[in-house]
């Protein structure tokens, strides 16, 4: 009844597609998600967009204590399927930064600002990397696990 994984590309499928776009970019594969190296991110995303994932649904930052993870949910309207691509950054919580995909999908513009504001992950190449909800001069990033 729930559509759950019916319209989602499996990790294996996605890894194969990404391998065709940018070889050696996939660092790990899960059931329904893949992990990509940050420095290959823009190439991978451009390739995925051109091969059918026309829409970026969401950009999310997650704080896993020892590192940060940025999760991209993609949607292909023409093929009616979703994909999840993840990137790890900030080993040891050290200055997490990821290339911005604003040039690939304009929809990343406000979402990347939100991740920066609340999680502190910088998106390099974003044209307006500043806070979105909290005021300028606010110190800290509230969604981090060490912000209390």
């Amino acid at each position: 009844m729930s559509s759950s994984t019916a319209f989602t590309a499996s990790g294996q499928e996605l890894a194969t597609e990404i391998e065709a776009i940018a070889s050696q970019a996939v660092t790990a594969t899960g059931d329904y998600d893949v992990w990509v190296a940050p420095d290959r991110l823009v190439d991978v995303m451009t390739g995925l967009r051109d091969s059918g994932f026309e829409m970026l649904i969401g950009v999310t930052g997650v704080d896993y204590i020892g590192y940060f993870e940025v999760v991209y949910h993609l949607l292909s309207l023409s093929q009616n399927r979703r994909a999840t691509v993840k990137v790890r950054c900030g080993e040891g919580r050290n200055d997490p930064a990821v290339p911005s995909v604003m040039e690939v999908w304009r929809g990343a513009q406000l979402q990347e600002r939100e991740v920066y504001d609340l999680m502190g992950i910088r998106f390099e190449g974003h044209d307006d990397m500043k806070r979105i909800f909290l005021w300028e001069g606010f110190e800290g990033h509230p969604l981090r696990k060490d912000f209390l």
């Binding site: 009844m1 949910h73 999908w105 929809g107 513009q109 979402q111 909800f133």
Partner: protein
């Protein structure tokens, strides 16, 4: 002698009758024409995502109500589907039908708000708004019968809903369904052919579908540009695959198209509700085996559903505890505003609010 002019930057909001909540824009004008807009968010930021990390999965339902407070049932539903996916719960059929009825009623309510305020922004101060609010009252009274609350309902639970509809709900629902089509026809008669609406909205703030898709816009704003994308149809969730309904489409992608799509969607929602009433069977509204304190296995889940504003999705990460490790809302209202600047530049001050109203956002969802 040429007049010397200079551009002026004015603050619109955050307190303003036409900003759909507390929203601020720093607008630069050259006379009446908008030459730049900088939207400033955050006036209703309540830290919902952080709060959710210290609430149990059932308690978070109340948080989701308050995000898009005009469409709480839809926010509930989207969140509950994510929890069910994460935990692997199969919901009770009667609960699902009740959820669908509530969600479609709420869709009508949300579109009524959107339409009423859209017309108020156009300058029809109050009259159409009072009519749409009158209809919305019918729906809110139904919700009060159903679950006790008019607006922030917290009606849904993982596995279904928290209580069955009382016996007096069904005749009341029939009465409302009998009355609404006539009222929606009334709006069409009064508004859709109205010359002032046509002149002010036709051809204003046109965006092509490629730009919209690239900017992650979803919902009526996307369907108004001709893209046939409705999650209830393409990636059906709940029992939407057992329901037949049309998907209103327009190609003009201007303010008028965005408004008329919502009128048609209200009619389609009425059809959906009738089909749900025909197919609902007696039974429990929540499976017995769903515990009251849910501890999903470690993992993550994202489910996107079609809310009145666009694709509303909840991304949940669980570490096996009673509260989510990460709770993220994919808010269509925020994302649909990516193109606000493009849509209003070049048009006049008066069009700024109309365009903004036609995107139909809710600040509770934008800021969370």
């Amino acid at each position: 002698m040429p007049l010397k002019t200079e551009p002026i930057t004015i603050n619109v909001g955050p307190q303003h009758p036409s900003t759909h909540g507390v929203f601020r824009m720093r607008v630069t004008f050259d006379g009446e024409e908008v030459i730049d807009v900088e939207p400033i968010f955050g006036y209703l930021h309540r830290g919902s995502e952080k709060l959710a990390e210290s609430r149990t999965y059932t308690q978070i339902v109340t948080l989701t109500d308050r995000m898009d407070y005009v469409a709480s049932m839809n926010s509930n539903m989207s969140y509950i589907l994510s929890v069910e996916k994460l935990e692997g719960i199969e919901p009770a059929p009667r609960g699902v039908w009740l959820r669908m009825i509530a969600a479609e009623l709420q869709r009508i309510g949300s579109h009524l708000v959107a339409t009423g305020f859209f017309l108020q922004d156009l300058g029809a101060l109050g009259t159409p708004l009072i009519f749409t609010m009158r209809e919305r009252e019918l729906i809110l009274e139904l919700f009060e019968r159903l679950c006790g609350a008019r607006i922030t309902n917290s009606y849904m639970r993982p596995g279904g809903v928290f209580m069955d509809a009382p016996d007096d709900f069904w005749p009341a629902l029939d009465r409302v369904l009998a009355e609404l089509p006539h009222r929606i026809d009334e709006y069409e008669q009064l508004i859709s052919g109205n010359e002032i609406v046509a002149v002010r909205c036709d051809g204003v703030a046109v965006v092509d579908s490629q730009t919209l898709i690239n900017a992650s816009a979803t919902g009526p704003i996307l369907r108004a540009s001709g893209v046939d994308w409705d999650l209830r149809h393409r990636q059906p969730y709940e029992y939407y695959d057992r329901i037949k309904f049309h998907r209103p489409l327009a190609t003009a992608s201007d303010n008028y198209a965005r408004y008329i799509i919502r009128i048609h969607e209200m009619r389609e929602s009425l059809k959906i509700i009738r089909q749900c009433i025909d197919q609902i069977e007696p039974g429990p509204v929540r499976p017995q085996e769903v515990p009251s304190l849910i501890r999903p296995p470690a993992g993550d889940a994202y489910v996107g559903t079609e809310s009145p504003k666009g694709e509303l999705g909840f991304y949940l990460v669980s570490d096996g505890g009673v509260a989510p490790y990460r709770f993220k809302v994919r808010a269509p209202s925020l994302i649909n505003l990516t193109l606000l600047r493009d849509m209003v530049i070049g048009y006049k001050l008066a069009d700024l609010f109309v365009t903004f109203g036609s995107i139909d956002i809710n600040m509770g969802e934008v800021d969370r």
